[in-house]
Each structure stands twice: as C-alpha cells, then as structure tokens.
Subunit: 449 residues, 4 copies
C-alpha cells in the first residue's frame, strides 16, 4: 500500500460547529493537519478586524481550512457516487484526482499571515506566493508530507491552487465563483457572527453540482439556489465584511504599522520596544521562516509594548487598536475629493497629523481579497446545464445575478477621529473647527459645499 | 439625570451568535465595555486549551462576559414584569438593584488571565482577587466608570461578585447553581464546539425563575427543565471540559512554564528569549498593571521564541504546545499510584525527565474552577417552589440530580509521551521498554501487575 | 378594570418552534384563541397542497396565526420602548392602539377555509369577506369576545384587516410589503419545509422598523436587511410556493371538485357518496355556519368516499389526490397556446377527457394570494428613513429590489397525465401518440413545431 | 438486474426539516412510498392529541416513517464503510441485509391508525398486527411491491418488525433501546414542538454504533453520548408526551368514542350522524380495508357532526374535543383511590355522569406505546464495547441510566371538568360542592382528608 492510498484503520473526525463532523480517512491529510505550518493557522483570525464589530467572529483560518477540506471531500463523494468516470476523457469524475483535490482544499490558505491585507500592503508580502512556497519549498513539513506521496505531488497541489492544474474540475472545486472555499467561509462567518445572510443551502448546491468536460457546472433546476448563494455572498460583503467599524480598525492598524516602520527607519523606535520578529519585514529582507513565526498574537504583543512608546502617535494608535477606539467615517464619491482635502486640513488644524489620523479606504484595498469584485465581472461564469446537456451562463437566466455582476459592491469611505462627528459642546475646545467639519457631512455622506 | 440613570438615546445592540442580540441601554454599561481592562478579555480564550480538541472553541472571555450580562438583563426584565416589589422587604424584585446586578454580571470574570488555571498554579496569582482589585483599585478605568455612579458603587459591585452583597437575589443571579454565568457558558461552549450537550432550555428556565425573600428559586412545574440543565452541565464536563487531549495540552503548558521558570532561576534562560512581561511573575513581584499586560498572544509569543532555546526540554515542550503534540494518557485510581511510580521509571529509562514528561491531573487542578465539584455538594441547593409557596430542595424531588450530587464528576489521569502507547515496531529503538509500559494499560485504565 | 385592560395574573405562553415562546398577557387574546372559530384553524393546513412536495409542510393556519400575533406584539413592544408618542399626532406610537393591533394580527386569516384558493375558485367563496363576517357577525364567539371590549370594537378590528382603519401604523403592521403576516409565514414555512430561503433576519428587521406619521418605515442603515427579506420572499415563491408538483395537486383538486359538482348537478352522484356538508356550496346557498363546518379533514373524507364512485373520472381523480399521483407539467408562453390546444387533442386521443385531465395554471390563480404580484408593483413602497428624517422608497436605493419589482414572479404551466412524458416502451399501448406529444416538450418547456 | 437491485438513475431526495435530505436510491423504496397504504400516513398525526398542548406538533406518521428509513440508511452506510463483513459469520455487517432493513424501517409504523391508542383501547384493534397484515396480505399494494423482490420477502420484512428475523443487527436497528425509530421521533418531536429536550447527538451516536455477532453495540468511549440520549428520551416523556393537557384530551376522546358506541348499541344515535366508516368497528367486524379508510380527518369529521347530536353528553364531548376544552387534573397515588371515589361522587352531585366526565389515566394506557416503561426494565440492555472487544451493559457503567432504569416514568392522574378547580365565586351555582372538591387537592396532588 502506498502512502497516497494509506487509509486510517478507522476514519478520524473533527467536531465542527458548521459541518458537524469533518471526516478524515487519508493518512496524508492527517499528517498535513499535524504540521507546524498548518497548526499555525490556529493563531490567525479568519476575519481579522471584523471581530471588533461582530464580537463572535473570533474563528481562525485553521477552522476555515478544515471546512474547505470537508466541503471538497463531500463534492468528491457526490461526484463519485453520481458521475463516476467510465472512460478517460468522458467529462465525468476521475476519483484518482481526489487526493490532490483534498490537499489543495486543505492548504489553499496556508500562506495567510496575521492581518494579511494590511500587512501585505505595508511590507510587500504576498500570501499567495507564500502558499506556493510553503507547499513546494523543501524546508517545510508540509512539503515533506506531500513529497512522500510522490516527488512531483507538491507541485501538483500548488498548481491546483494557482489554477494551472490541467483538470479543471479540481481547479474549480477549490477556486471558482462557487467553490469549497467561498462556501465554507460564508457559512462559517455567518455562524460565528450570528448573522444569517451567508446561510445558503449547501446540501442542495452539492446536489446540483456536476462535473463536465471543462470543469464544474450546475443543474438548471437548481438555478435559484445558486442565485440565493450569490445574493447571500453579496449580503455578507455589504453587511459584514465591509462594515465601516471593521474597516476603521483596519485603517488604524495600517497607520500604526506605518508609524512604527517610519520611526524604525528614522532610528526613533525605543530599543526596548523593538519588534524583533518584525525586523526582517521592516528591513524588507525576510525568509519563509521569518514569515512563519508571525501570527495575530505576536503582532498584538508588539502593539501592547508600543502603548508605552514616548512617540505620542505610535502610543496613541497602539492604544486605539488594542483597546478598540475606532475612527468615525463617511462615504464619499470621486467628486468629493476636494472636500476631503479640506477636511484633512481641518483635522490638521486640531493638531492631528492627517497622514496618521485620516484615511480613505476603497475596494482596491479591501480587507478580503478572495472576493475580487473587479475580476469577478470578467471571470468565467457559473454554468448551468439544461436537461438536454446544453450549457448556459448564470447571468443569462438570472435577472438578480445580472444586477450583481454589473456592479462593484463597495463603498469609498473617509476616516477621521471621532470628535469631529460627535463632541460635547460644553467641553469641546475645538468646537468651531468641528462644527465646520460637520457641515460637509450629511446622511453619512460627504457633500461638497 | 444622574449617571446611574443615564440611558442611551436609543438602545445599542451587539450581534451575538448565542443570544442573537445583546441589548445595552445604560451609559454605564457601554462605558465599562469600552475600558481597556474589559477589551483585554478579547485576547483571552474562554476555554484555554480546549480548542486543541474542539477546534471551534476559539471564543473569548469578552464574548462570554457580554453573554452573562445579557442573561442577567433578561432575568431583571422578567422579574420586573412578573414579580415587582411593592413594599420593601416583600421578597419580590426591587428594580433599583438592576444596575449593580448588570455591572457585576458584566465584570464577574474580568480578573481572568491567559490560561488562567495553569498560570495561577505556577505563579500564585488568583483571578478572583484580581477581579476585586480591577473593580476597586482607583487606578483602573473600570473603577473610574463605576465611581462615577457613586463613591461606594465599586465596592458594591465587587461584593456581589464575592457574594457578600446583602441582596441574595442579586448574588444568586451571578453566582449560584443556576446563574447567568453558568447558563451563558454552557450555551456558548456548546455553540462554539458544535456539541449539543450544554444546549438546555434557557427561555423556559428564565420563565420559571422567581425571586423570593432569600434569593432566587424556581417553579416546581419546571423541575424537569432544571434537571435537564444540571445533567447537561455534567455532560459538558465529562465530554468537553475534561477531555483528555485538552488536559494533556494543559499538562504540557504547565511543564513548559515550569521549565522556563526553573531555567530563569538557574540563570540558564538565554537573554534573547527573556519573556519581559513575565519577569514580574517569575520574580513573584507583580503589580496589577503587570497582570493586565498579559494575554494568550503574549504568552504564545514567548513560547514561539522558546522553540529556539538551546535547552532541549524547553524547546521541545514549546514545540509540543505551539504545534499541538499532546501527551497520551490513561485513567488511574488511588490504588494504582505505585504502578505510576513504576511507569515514571520506564519513562526515565527512555531518557525523558519524568518531571517534565509525565504528569497527573485530577479534579483538584481542573482547568475550569467555576464548577467546583467538591463545593457543589455542600452548596446551597437549588430551591423549587410549590403552588402553595412552600420550598423544597431540588435533590429531594429529582432522582437524577441526587445521583449527580452524590458524585464527583472527574477522572484522574496519568500523562506520558505518545510513543509509550503507540509506536512502529520496525523503527522503535525502545520497543522493549514501551512494551513493558503497555502491559500496565488496559481499556484506557492503568492496572496493577 | 375593564375587559380591554384585563391582564392575566401571570403571562401565559405557547411553546412555538419558530418564535420559541408566544406570550399572552391580555385576557381578550386568550379568549379569542379559545373560540371554536379560531380553534378550527388547527384543522386547515397553512400551505394546502405544498406538503405533497415538501412533506414537512404540515403546519396549520392556527400555528401561523399565533405567530403573526407574536410578531405584532414584539413590534408594539419595540415601538413603545423606543418611539412612544408624547403628544397626539406626533407620528410616534400610541400604545392604546395595541389591543386592536394584536386582535387584528391574530384574526387576520380566520376566514380561510380548506384548500382556500381552489375552493374559492369553484364555489365563489371569498375568505376575506368571511374574515370580516366572523369578526362582525353577532352569531360568532369571536364577535362575542370582541364586543365585550366595546360595541364598536369588532368593526375596528375588521377595519384594520380591510385596511380602512385610520391609524396607518396599525394597518401596515398587519398588511404591507413587510408586515407581521408575511414575516411569520416566511419563517414558519422555511422551518417546516426544511428549506432556508425564507430565513431572513427578523430581530434586525424589528429593530430598524419605526413608526412615522403616515405608517411604518425603516432605518436607512438597515436597507440591506430589508433587501434580504424581499429576495428571500421571492425565493420562497419560486422554490416552494410555486413548485410544479404542488400546483399539479392543486389542479387535480380543482378538477375533482369540479367533477363532483358537475355530477351532482346532473343527478349522477351516488346518494351514499353525498357530501352533506358541501351541499350548500354545490347549491350556491351557504351560511357562515356552513362554511365553518368545513376543514381539510372533512373534504378529504369525502374524497376517500369518492374513490368508490362508479364514475371513473371522479374515482380516478379522488385516487390521484388522496394517494398522491400528480400530473406532469411543462412551462409555456403565450405564443404556445396553439400547441397546447394540439396537446389537449393528443390527450383526448388516448381516451382522457381534457377538461379533467389537463389544466393550465398561472399567476392569476396562484394558490397563495397574499402575495399579489400584480398589485405589489403599484403598492405603496417600503419607505426608508435617512438620518435627517427624510424618506426614500426602497426601490430607489436597492438595485436588487428594483429588479424584483419590475418582474412578475410566476410561470405558466400546462399539466397532463404522467405517461405522456414517461412510459415504458414495451408496455405503452399509446406509444405513438405519447411520442408525438413529447416532441413538443424540450428542457421542461412547451415548444412550437 | 433484479428488482431488488434496481437503483434509480440518479438518487431521489425528499427535503426534510430534521435530516435535511432523505436519500432514496432503490426503486423498491420509492415504490413503497407511493403506495396508498403509505400515503395514508400523511393523514395521521404522529403525536395524536399532543398538538393541543404543543401547537407545533402537527407532523404526521408519514414524515416520521421517512425519517426512520433515513436513519437506518445512514446506519447501513456507516456499517458498510467501517465494518464490512469479510467472512460469513464474522459478526460484521453483511450489506445484502440492507434492503430488508430499509423496508422494515420505512414500514414499521404502517399499521398505525387515527388516534391509535385510544382507538385500540375501545375497538380492540392492534396496530402491530395490522402492520403485519399490510405487509403480508396479498391484497395490499405494499405487499405487491415487496413480493416483486421475492415471494418470501414480505414475510422477511414483517419478521424484522416482529423481531423474529434471524439477523439481530437488522432487528435491533429497527427496534431496540437505541434504534432508528426512537432516534427519529425524539429529534422530530423536539423539532416540531420547539422544545430541546430530545435533541441528542445523532451523528455521534451513528459514529459509535457498531455491529457485533449478536446485534448492535456501541463504543465505550461514547458512553456519555448514549447516556445523554437516554436522559433526553426520559425528558421528552415527562415534559412532552405525558403532558397533562394532552392526556386530558385523550381522556375526552376516549369518552366521546365510548359514548357514541354506547348510543349506537342502544339505537340512540341519530341516523344523520351515523359514522359509516366506523360502523365495522362499532360492530366489531372490520376488514383490513375498513381499517385503511380511517384517518384523523375522518374521525374529526364525525365529531363535527356529533356536535349537533341531541344527546347532550355526545354533543358536549364532541365540542370539548373539537374546540379544545380540556379537563383539569391532579396526580394521585394508589392510597388516594378512596378519595377519587368521593370526588367522582361530587362530580355526579353537580349533574355530570362520572363515567363520561371523569377519568383516570396511568402508564398502562399511555398514549405512546413504543416506549413500554414496564418492559424496558427487563429488556436487553444497551451494550458497550471496550477497546479489547469485551462487552458491558450500559447500566453497569452509567449511574444516571441506572436511576432511570429502576424507575417507571409516569404519573397517575385523575381528570374532571375545569370548574371543579377554578370558578367565579359570584356566578358559580355549585360553589359549595366545588369548594369541598378543592379541599382534596393540594399542590397538584390529590390528598386524603
């Protein structure tokens, strides 16, 4: 029996709040879960700063990764039960693809780091590249496990994740408009936040999903279920992922890391506050091992130290992030950019450095890159299969989906300290400036004069 | 309008997966939530090492504390609606007690630290005393908020938590056999782990709960609902809280901190691995501020550093904890203690220091002190009220509860490295010792020769 | 204390799977629930023939009516807590309207009969008129209870239901685009069928709902929650309520009652099969008492008898309905009407009378009239309130809702016996006719030649 | 391909609120579901009079029967995946037993009639015998379907249900202390009533269940999960199934049918009120076909007619049942029997015939026979398997279960008209008698003088 085929004497399960149980039968999968690189995901929150808004959103990327694996496993089971390939190239499911699919599902996010998006923005890291490295770099335990399957197996798994793998069914199972990744995070984020928006009909989607020669499609009679999933996803974006308070905390985090980096490069960061594990990133010379040492707790530990800095801006921003003191914000359109310049001026008038105390945030630096709203429009459509086997694109038959696909779901916001919006008249020393500021905001929108 | 009576212009809500919404109307409550001491609870897991077994158990003490507040709020509402006091001393609910009850509910766990039980065991801290300090010490923001209500309000809130407050209804709402604390953690831990054992009928319990002159009792016709809650609690203990793998990780954590402390006192801990925030605890001279700097992430950050120690034991234990390599274990009874001595010897024979590589764990150092099985037996009984107003103790009328109260729910376990239980015959260098070891274990029990 | 103000000594509850508990404090409400007219709703299924498709959909109109009451009660509580009227005419909530609102909510469906829509179609009954009669007719117990409140109270309750009541907040609470009725049936039908489509965020909708001078509106920041509810409702229509198999059973029911009526008027219905309780309806001379004797079980009892009729069509249709032998169907557009005529001819060629063995069904005789897609378009819009108090229509701000409102959610279908679509080639005597029939159907659509 | 092996081209599903989907792959199963005998179960409520107390409990025996099938199917899948027989007689699962197991699971309740227990009590029917007849009698469609599998297949299926089938794994899957039947009804009744008591951990029970040479046992490490299920079952009995109001309606039903039968035999039942479909039962000469014509709706239809009887007792009892006017009740012990005689006398003093207006109800005529508390004590124990393969009885290792098994869960109650417990002093003509009556009742118990 080869390592690839080695099954556990009895299937092992992980109790999961979303899928009830996650079933593991392959020794390979169990070994991957037990690597330090995968266990590290326990220390990285799936939703970053969202738990500052939805306090229940404390789940980790570890939990989500197990869930993606489990959905992929169920898809394989369903394909094998209902659409087993009989002749090579018949467009049905070839179950010898199962292991590569399951490994890719489990590992698709393994390169994520603490507060990924902000971190990447400031330190020029790229979690997708790091995912590829963790899988293919001979120094990792993940690579060691995969290599035991076969010498080129790590490359195969990596190619599924970067979408270059030849079998499109496997690729689309892990990354497409309706894949195991998205399905798990919608359900899990809904469960953790206690909202119902992402709670679509998983079992039915699995049932109407089917392999075909060029990937994965769905039965036409399940069109409305897919539609419901797409709308649910959009709802999660507008109601949860893009919540202004979470984005505000993201802005503060960005400014905090930026300030620390600036101070470091100016030689002004106190020695006792040196973030040793971050230095390779400050110096723009980091190794994979450096990257794998980081997690949410490590970063927060530095922030806790920085609350004691003599630099007022650093200590204040650290306090705002650790103790949750978000900025306020208002929506704006491109035509208000001049007003924003004026508002920054007013912020400066009150003694704040606008570089660190204001910010704009839009869809180009959205915190959740797995949903690239821009790309999605041009992405391969979800395909529906008629009773006679012909295929049709989802947006052809669904008016609702057409609306969603023609639109970027996002809103641009300008962030600033709280007192500019609300202050106590009796005690506010800068009341005239604040009142001037407020004239430019109406119904949560920045307006021109 | 006094600060105590100051209501928000419109009630504020926190979306919660267990209670749907948590409602806040008092400015005092909102201000308490926004203190750094309370926000710190976001960075401390409610169930410590349990998430190593139940991966979903990633929720924090912050989340739980909000939940306890919400249940207390609902109890107050229900008491006020159905049993409002008309004359002082009539044994009904006096709604002027509401604010002190809500504050105590919110703050009852505020003194908890990272991995509380193990930490306390090694560093002689006491989270209950620290809770009292955070509330009554003039240096904290919590104290500042409470003092605005009235100068002696902090002491009042603290006295509810230490059970010396005169109104027993308020005290029992927060700490008794069936209180807001226990009710929230059972529901929340069930929800997060994805198990159903703790999922009792909260709404009905709230409905049958009633104030009386000496505290809180329950309608007799709800007896079976209370019974169900008690059994559910016991199930959570045996199935979740006392899970051998979580306890194993707790043992490793204990040994890891112990080793670091030993090395430090022997001057053998490498300078670059110095855990600065822990030093006051290593030196047994810590302030409240020192304590409030710690959280799960800070400790884990040190452990990540310690993986690189030259001390083999420290680096190995740090690796076991961070990368989840639990010990195995077996149950034992008092009559097997001699066998355990022998097993420790066998562990030493394979080159392991038994001080750091074996352990026993029993109900006296259980990780979840809020359920003191010993005390519970002698605790004030849950009281049931007959239709004619007479009271009777729960264990008088429930056979099931009688069984539970006559029994300590716990099991003693002996922990040791994995290979002593399972190893590969071909490659195991110590096979003869391991096989000798295994002779003493049968059906998960240590047996005598 | 007047009867209107008479509260139960302690609130009474009804355990409910959707709302957990339904709370009753008014003696009036409890007395209404205990009337025979209201208890009769236990014997009428909420979703008629839907349980032939979704077997869980067995819940009654009784259950739903309690649920509508409960949602209305929560709306009143919320309005009273957050928006209490201070001066008459200030556009806020006047809690003296509570009782009339609760009674109207409870009784809004009391005129529904067994298999309402089909029954009304054949016997010219009108459940809305009957609702008015049950409330205002001095012969009913419902009227007796309401009259105890005040002589004109029955008329007031009735006027809320027919929308002529002056207070628009009360009217819209019971019937509008987002009312207690619709909210309960979506949640309840989702729960019973085991589908998730109608499972919107009730608590949040209640939270963003607010009274204003001309009715009920919603906070602008809750726009996406309303949107989610609207889309969820549409999904329930297309996925559950309009399911072809349920509609097929509705067609059979229609034809069965029609055949019985035809036979009766031709004097050909066997005396021992006489449906005594239906005769007033066959004769088009029924009283309110006649109507109140009917329920699902009474009609089914006659159908069970009719299975023994010597009239082949009557007995066959009765068998089809009682033993669930649905027709098959296909969609058609107006341009296919000629084809349908041809298909009817082919059905006749096989010996079936097309009057009883084929049928068309479209949105004009949809089984669930509470959602009049036609009317909805012109209906008063859902209003959203900006932070500055200005109002805007939902479809102005929601692209998704605009799509839904510009479209009638329905599909026209043609129904026919199963064998015309599927039969066993070996044994099918009419195979050539069936094969000719099948040429006109492609991908579940009727096509022209 | 034989009929037994004939699989549907693609699995068919039934949407289910408890199990999400019910999967059907065998043509035989689909054909059985489509028989009139099985469809008839749609018209019979699973919980009889319980919906008078828990209004959500409106689900039918059809729904439950599908659920039992589904659980049995999952057990088979699990057995086949983890414990497939390799050699005949090795005590593992032989998958050629699957079809007989699934058919027995589906059909185990097919002989149930309307309001089974009361009906059987009065008319000497026996739903277990009728189940056997429906399966083995050549006149039924169920028999026709089963006979197509093989001539002796009907007998095999019937023998599984009457427990004489040789393979004990199959028998215990359908009827034992922890079988598919009980597991489904606990979950389903919990779901419908909206209570949580019966909501045990199905997935884990399926996981720890295993075949052995003499039937089905469970892994020792799952002991507490079984314990939780047993306690949950007991809770459903005391909190839901034995609810005094449901039992009161059962008493009224009993007296109503008894009165009608008495009148009929005395020739005093008005001709126009003749219950034709019941006559064979009144005359004690019924055929299987007669039995299969009855359902809840048919009986209720007669009751609706009987409300118009000139016989005051018949019309009053019919009104009480149809319009839900339950009797009140109190618990009694054997030592109070004399008091009960006295209370009956007082009831008679107020003009009521105690034969029809009082009743006692105890565990010997409990409405839910599938749980025979008496028998259970002596029943084959649930067996747990140690790691070394040895077996031990559940009550040996579970203190909680030992308590339950040593006790009959039931309470004897005496029923009587409402006004004897509560009446309006001003208007009560029989106040002195009522007050005398009330002296014998204290805290819901009948007491001796």
């Amino acid at each position: 029996m080869t390592y690839a085929n080695q099954l556990l004497p009895r299937e092992k399960v992980f109790r999961d709040p979303v899928h009830n149980y996650i079933y593991v039968r392959h020794q390979v999968i169990l070994d991957l879960i037990n690597t330090p690189e995968f266990q590290r995901l326990r220390r990285i929150k799936q939703l970053g700063t969202s738990s500052f808004t939805f306090h229940g959103a404390e789940h980790s990327r570890f939990t989500h990764s197990l869930g993606v694996y489990e959905i992929a496993r169920r898809i394989c089971n369903n394909f094998q039960r209902n659409f087993p390939s009989e002749v090579a190239g018949d467009g049905k499911w070839d179950d010898s693809e199962r292991l590569v699919a399951l490994c890719a599902a489990l590992l698709h996010d393994i390169g994520h780091g603490a507060y990924s998006h902000t971190f990447e923005h400031i330190f020029n890291t790229d979690h997708e590249k790091i995912t590829q490295q963790i899988i293919t770099n001979p120094g990792t335990e993940v690579n060691a496990v995969l290599s035991r399957v076969s010498p080129n197996f790590p490359e195969q798994v990596a190619s599924v994740i970067d979408k270059s793998y030849p079998n499109k069914q496997v690729v689309q199972m892990i990354s497409s408009q309706c894949d195991a990744d998205r399905m798990d995070y919608l359900l899990r984020d809904s469960y953790s936040t206690g909202t119902s928006y992402g709670n679509f009909d998983l079992t039915r989607i699995l049932r109407i999903m089917r392999p075909y020669s060029d990937g994965i499609c769905f039965d036409m009679n399940g069109m409305h279920t897919i539609e419901d999933y797409i709308i649910g996803r959009m709802q999660m974006y507008v109601q949860v992922y893009f919540h202004p308070v979470s984005r505000s905390m993201e802005v503060i985090l960005n400014h905090l890391l930026l300030r620390a980096k600036d101070l470091y490069h100016d030689g002004k960061l106190e020695p006792e506050l040196t973030p040793y594990l971050l230095l390779p990133f400050f110096d723009d010379q980091f190794s994979l091992d450096d990257y794998l040492e980081l997690d949410d707790g490590v970063l927060n530990t530095y922030f806790i130290h920085w609350k004691h800095s003599d630099d007022d801006i650093l200590s204040d921003l650290a306090h705002r992030f650790i103790d949750r003191k978000p900025f306020k914000s208002a929506k704006y359109e491109q035509e208000n950019l001049e007003t924003i310049t004026r508002l920054r001026g007013l912020v400066a008038d009150c003694g704040y450095d606008p570089k660190y105390y204001t910010g704009v945030d839009n869809s180009f630096n959205m915190p959740y890159d797995s949903y690239d709203t821009k790309k999605e429009i041009h992405d391969a459509q979800i395909k529906l299969m008629n009773l006679d086997g012909t295929l049709v694109g989802l947006s052809k038959v669904s008016d609702l989906v057409r609306v969603v696909t023609n639109k970027i779901v996002s809103e641009d916001r300008f962030f600033f300290p709280r007192e500019f919006l609300k202050s106590d008249k009796q005690t506010d020393l800068f009341l005239p400036v604040h009142e001037q500021f407020r004239k430019y905001i109406k119904n949560d929108h920045i307006i021109n004069e």
